[in-house]
């Protein structure tokens, strides 16, 4: 029997407000444990949570960017469970009346646009961190993260594969980064994801029993865990067994999921110490006005306005900073496709190698375009330009200064090139003969020798033309 995979994701995202959700302690990463704690986030009896206005605004902005309906009235509840990273014995969250509902994120599914529904998006507080020391019978608790604001984004079970889940996460992350509510670094824990996955016979409309998978440290892990669970569940179903509703943990090293715990019943009750949040139309409109052009719209515009292929547009708009840099460049240079080629190949690979971000670039879009213009004018060759580009990246110097300093100006002097060409021909009579005997590849060798002699500075079009003339005589 064929089975269909049903995936829903629960994503937690830390909001980048200055302070925690219910107290004024800093959310900044601290070098020393328990540096950002006060009676409220320590859960001292008698304290009252004080709602952070920016959290409401960030969360509303996220809800709007995710196409949700924003509730005019929402409030908080207590989710009760015992765990040492949760000092109050309950987490303040929104359960009964969440801030946002019924949104969606668009993904590409086999070339077609597909909407992944968002059932609920709500605000809540993060828990602290536990440190387990190897071999020790104790755990250590750091409460700096306790009370950091989160939004939880619960998708509909609309995804059908690991690939779709991966795309959904990527698009969700890009949107949240564009609207600047979170840095969404899954490796650093500011974006976390749990999977709900079940299988059902193809053609069936009923959902099978779902399994929850936790501890996913990267988008790739999410994809792998879904693929692993698909296989595990299919094998159980095919051998006549049934799936048990449980929570499993992804083991990255072994590439498998492991039983963690059975179904738990979280007891919720309303939080009486917090006033409800009223999001009136004027406040909502004000927040909505602060939402910039989102990645999907920007991608469409780049395709239309700059004539970019879809692939280029996706890559350039996947980062807000990169797309801004690109648009600055296009103002200074006439060919948008040349710019996207350079950014996608040279820039992204050097960023990848060095681990730097675009925001750390030492050169300006204008300087970058000056370099492209130098190629067009024949001052430098495309090959030399790559070296100039790397030097600009390292030092932030202008391309003119680098070319000047390193003597990289292209040799375009006809007489000079011809004399070098003649020298090379004299030194390599075998290649000359090969060429004349029909081995056209020998030309490449001769050009290479000229480049070697000129340290790559010979104008390649000119040198090719000179050889053709001399050899075909």
């Amino acid at each position: 029997m064929n089975y269909e995979t049903i995936v829903g994701l629960e994503v937690h995202v830390e909001l980048s407000t200055k302070t925690k959700i219910f107290c004024g302690c800093s959310t900044e990463f601290s070098k020393e444990p328990n540096s950002h704690c006060c009676p409220i986030c320590l859960g001292m009896p008698g304290t009252i949570p004080l709602m952070n206005k920016s959290v409401v605004e960030y969360a509303t902005k996220a809800g709007l960017a995710l196409n949700c309906q924003i509730a005019e009235f929402s409030r908080f509840d207590r989710k009760k469970y015992f765990y040492p990273d949760l000092p109050k014995g309950y987490q303040i969250s929104q359960y009964y009346i969440p801030l946002a509902r019924n949104g969606y994120v668009e993904i590409d599914s086999n070339g077609k646009k597909k909407r992944i529904g968002i059932r609920i998006m709500h605000m809540e507080e993060d828990a602290g961190k536990l440190v387990h020391e190897e071999g020790s019978s104790y755990s250590l608790v750091d409460l700096d993260r306790a009370g950091v604001p989160l939004i939880e984004i619960v998708s509909e079970p609309d995804m059908r594969s690991g690939e779709e889940a991966w795309q959904y996460l990527n698009n969700l992350k890009t949107i949240l980064q564009y609207i600047e509510v979170s840095d969404c670094k899954i490796e650093e824990g500011s974006m976390r994801c749990d999977i709900n996955i079940s299988l059902r016979p193809e053609g069936s409309n009923e959902f099978g029993t779902k399994v929850e998978v936790k501890n996913l440290g990267s988008f790739r892990a999410v994809k792998r865990a879904i693929e692993y669970e698909e296989k595990r569940q299919r094998e159980i179903l095919e051998s006549g067994g049934s799936i048990v509703q449980e929570t499993r943990r992804w083991d990255e090293d072994r590439g498998i999921t492991i039983f963690m715990r059975g179904k738990v019943d979280n007891r919720y009750s309303p939080e009486p110490n917090l006033a409800p949040v009223i999001m009136r139309k004027d406040w909502k409109d004000e927040i909505s006005a602060r939402i910039p052009e989102l990645p999907g719209a920007k991608k469409e515009r780049f395709i239309k306005e700059y004539g970019l292929p879809e692939y280029d547009a996706s890559i350039i708009t996947a980062s807000k900073v990169l797309s801004n840099f690109y648009e600055e460049c296009v103002k200074h240079y006439h060919d948008p496709k040349v710019v996207s080629n350079w950014l996608m190949v040279e820039l992204l690979s050097i960023l990848n190698e060095t681990g730097q971000g675009i925001e750390d670039l030492k050169f300006t879009p204008k300087q970058f375009c000056d370099m492209l213009a130098m190629i067009d004018k024949g001052t430098i060759s495309g090959k030399i330009a790559k070296d100039v580009f790397r030097e600009m990246f390292a030092t932030g110097k202008s391309p003119e200064a680098i070319v000047e300093e390193k003597g990289l100006v292209q040799i375009s002097d006809e007489a000079e090139l011809e004399s070098i060409a003649k020298r090379v021909m004299e030194a390599n009579p075998k290649s000359v003969e090969d060429y004349k005997n029909g081995k056209k590849k020998a030309l490449g060798f001769l050009v290479g020798q000229v480049m070697k002699e000129t340290k790559g500075k010979a104008n390649p079009q000119m040198i090719n033309a000179i050889f053709s003339r001399l050899l075909d005589q």
């Binding site: 004024g24 302690c25 800093s26 328990n34 006060c38 959290v55 440190v131 387990h132 009486p272």
Partner: protein, 94 residues
């Protein structure tokens, strides 16, 4: 309240009860539950649930950092600590 239920409630709340306490608490619980029985008799069909008796809305604070507590204050009431950490019995999730 029968002892089985009482033990279950205590277990959910992570409260340890001595056997000598059971008798008394069981009685106290019966007394409390009677109150709720009485409350359940009231017709609340058309009444919205009251979460908070105060009718405040949007009680919000500006996003400004305040001073957190010094570490000795943070750890002052901790039954056990290790350096700047709270220390608790090992949590095993596997």
């Amino acid at each position: 309240m029968d002892k089985g239920t009482l033990y279950r409630v205590a277990d959910i709340a992570h409260v340890h009860l001595e056997s000598r306490e059971i008798e008394q608490i069981s009685k106290d619980m019966d007394f409390l539950l009677e109150y709720f029985d009485k409350l359940s008799q009231v017709d609340t069909e058309s009444v919205l649930p009251t979460v908070c008796p105060i009718n405040d809305k949007n009680v919000l604070r500006d996003d400004e950092v305040w001073d957190s507590l010094p570490i000795d204050e943070v750890l002052k009431n901790a039954p056990d600590k290790h350096g700047r950490f709270f220390r608790v019995p090992r949590i095993i999730e596997e």
